[in-house]
Symmetry: C2
Subunit: 426 residues, 2 copies
């Protein structure tokens, strides 16, 4: 059986990739920017053209509703995000949104043509601010699930002090519509953003586990002083303290030969950041990632030991500005089994893989059963203009999403044992 | 003999310190900012009030001219700078400018009263952009001496892409006046910005040597990738490379037990600087300082070895964006001997000290004999709101400057052996 991807998908995806294009294959559609606004307007235009009821909620999530069944019938939801990193790839997030729109629109026509009677309604969604490149991560899904109060989300500010509320208002996406109800199943199709599928020769993947991550923002505190005249032994050098820990935390991951600990510092802000002033502050964003909570916890302990030693060496102090733990966990096994069965007609066996980056789907997993479908990323590249998934894999993934959403809207999620409690609640 | 500091000095210095005050004893008068413009306007108002002929040259240097002798007679020049670091102290630079204005104005009255006939004219100066907090350092003096072409200086841009030309125009100080001639002697009074005078119980200091400094801006080049999904061994992490070298270069200084090597990284800019993206670029501003060129050269070699090792470890590349060497050197010994003799009436023996930070005086030393007078900095603190020099030391320093400028304008610089070639020319 050949994939039955809607014919428009490829051309729409190409058109969408031009919005905020960085000219090298990548896009810059950071949340709340003009390019992000343009992408949002294009999405809304397509949703309206295809007969969706569009809702923009208070944090700028865009929903497209298709009232397949009774308005009070339960909802199936599918989507992803359309914001990007500053030099991001064009597949990350956008693929899942455009595919969901195309698949849902095609199912609407199919059901009208065949007279099928779905038992569930279908909503597609583009979550606001998933990337965390400007504001915090996963803004839209955290607001939707109630994990974070809407007012807190809207008050989040970027480096220039602009709030999400202001940024959304400036692009015309500070909405007032109610969000649709919590769905009985959420499905997200996303590129793997990792090299594992490609390495195993897989064309479809089923995310079974998500890695946990412990994120720390630590500010090292020194004292400004002239680099030309202050004796070395008198300096209180915030950047020297930070540098030791940045190098040290990398060694933790390198030492974990099993490959089950990833560490990083992606962001470092130095003050006053003048070439001839000893840095008085350096704020580093640390991440410790693993599929196993005990590995994360052990790394955290080592990290804090390094912070103490580095501060002593550099005569600096420190302050923890942010400390967020997302525990590792598992997606819904019953939905996973359904998706695996629905892939059979394609003659391609989905491989079980872990997702290492965070996704809105993980936030949703706290409130409903969640299924994450994935396709290979060439070379595992993600968050980079070279991000790439072959067109035939994009089409195959969309066809798999189509089969899944057809089944879920017609018959609802399969009966299953009650889901285990979400790790975040544990 | 009691210091004969002009009575207005203390009140004017206090009034000046309020301009751009950060409320904690410090000032923020970064070059070309509104506060810097306000300080410049105040200075010009005082110069005009005191009968100076004011000239603003093409790079925003402010000169106040007193035509004591024949207009074609040689010039003595005294001054410093009034720009500051973003969280700078109020003494650094401003002290030398306000004191020079007060001393020159008082000498003018004194000469009129006593009928003395100076043989030399006197110019006071506030050099533009000494600090390098926004644009490069020593902008005004480098333009005056011809070390750097005026067009190059004006085209220098800040982090937001604003040029010095635009910044000066925005505050009304993009001048068109000719600068006065190169003086036959330049005198700068400046706080020590170091702990050595205080440590030795000295109240006056004579800078004899300046330390050399080798400044490098090195950009480490990695590749953006998702921190959540990219296997550690595939990462090309620019910040990890930079962190190793930042820590390592500090160790060079710590290992130089003789205290004759200072190293620092005051500025580090990371891109894209997003918490969950492996940094693709990290630009670090390194400084290697010593009174001995061979120590600087050896440290440079070690630095570059560390850069190679760090890049190999982090799978990064690097690029040297800037590489500027200021060789160590000595101020004019004949002027130094004169100043030493002129301090005798105060009953205070000036101590010979090194200046470790750069000064406009060092730039001037390439084109004329230069004298640098200094007073103690409490705790050696500089570039910080806690920067402090006792009022009686400020007054004593100003009195010493007064005696020096009186002697130099009346009698000219003492005859001396030809100055040795400037190290920069060597």
């Amino acid at each position: 059986m050949r994939p039955t991807c809607p014919a428009r998908f490829a051309s729409r995806f190409e058109a969408f990739s031009a919005i905020g294009s960085t000219g090298d294959g990548g896009v810059n559609r950071v949340e709340g920017t003009e390019a992000n606004g343009a992408a949002r307007r294009q999405l809304v235009a397509w949703l309206e053209e295809d007969g969706f009821t569009v809702r923009i909620d208070r944090v700028g999530n865009i929903f497209g509703l298709l009232d397949f069944a009774d308005p009070d019938a339960p909802w199936i939801m599918a989507g992803s995000h359309i914001d990007s990193q500053p030099c991001g790839g064009r597949f990350d997030g956008a693929y899942g949104v455009i595919a969901a729109v195309e698949v849902a629109a095609a199912l609407r026509k199919e059901f009208a043509r065949t007279g099928a009677r779905p038992t569930h309604n279908l909503a597609v969604v583009a979550w606001a601010g998933e990337e965390g490149a400007r504001f915090k991560t996963l803004l839209g899904s955290r607001a939707f699930t109630g994990e974070t109060p809407i007012e807190t989300i809207l008050a989040d500010t970027d480096a220039q002090g602009v709030s999400l509320r202001e940024a959304l208002a400036s692009i015309g996406f500070l909405g007032a519509d109610p969000a649709p109800p919590i769905p009985v199943a959420y499905v997200e199709l996303h590129i793997e953003c990792g090299p594992r599928l490609e390495a195993q020769g897989g064309r479809l993947g089923l995310f079974e586990r998500w890695w946990g991550v412990h994120k720390f923002d630590i500010t090292f505190l020194g004292e400004p002083a002239h680099t030309g005249s202050t004796p070395m032994e008198r300096r209180k050098d915030a950047l020297y303290a930070a540098a030791q820990v940045i190098a040290g935390v990398r060694h933790l991951a390198d030492a974990a030969s099993s490959g089950d600990l990833y560490t990083s510092v992606g962001k470092l802000v130095v003050a006053p950041n003048s070439p001839n002033v000893v840095p008085s502050a350096a704020t580093a964003s640390f991440e410790l990632r693993s599929p196993k909570l005990e590995i994360i916890d052990a790394a955290e302990q080592r990290l804090m030991e390094m912070v103490s030693v580095a501060c002593a060496t550099a005569r600096a102090a420190y302050r923890i500005d942010r400390d967020v733990l997302r525990r590792p966990g598992r997606f819904d096994a019953t939905l996973g089994a359904l998706a695996r069965r629905l892939a059979e007609p394609f003659g391609v066996e989905p491989l079980a893989v872990d997702t290492l980056p965070g996704h809105d789907a993980i936030t949703l997993a706290a409130v409903c059963p969640v299924l994450m479908l994935t396709v290979p990323s060439r070379g595992g590249v993600c968050h980079h203009p070279d991000e790439w998934t072959a067109p035939e894999d994009l089409a195959l993934g969309a066809a798999w999403l189509s089969a899944t959403l057809r089944s879920l809207t017609l018959d609802g999620p399969p009966a299953c044992a009650p889901a285990p409690p979400h790790p975040r609640a544990a």
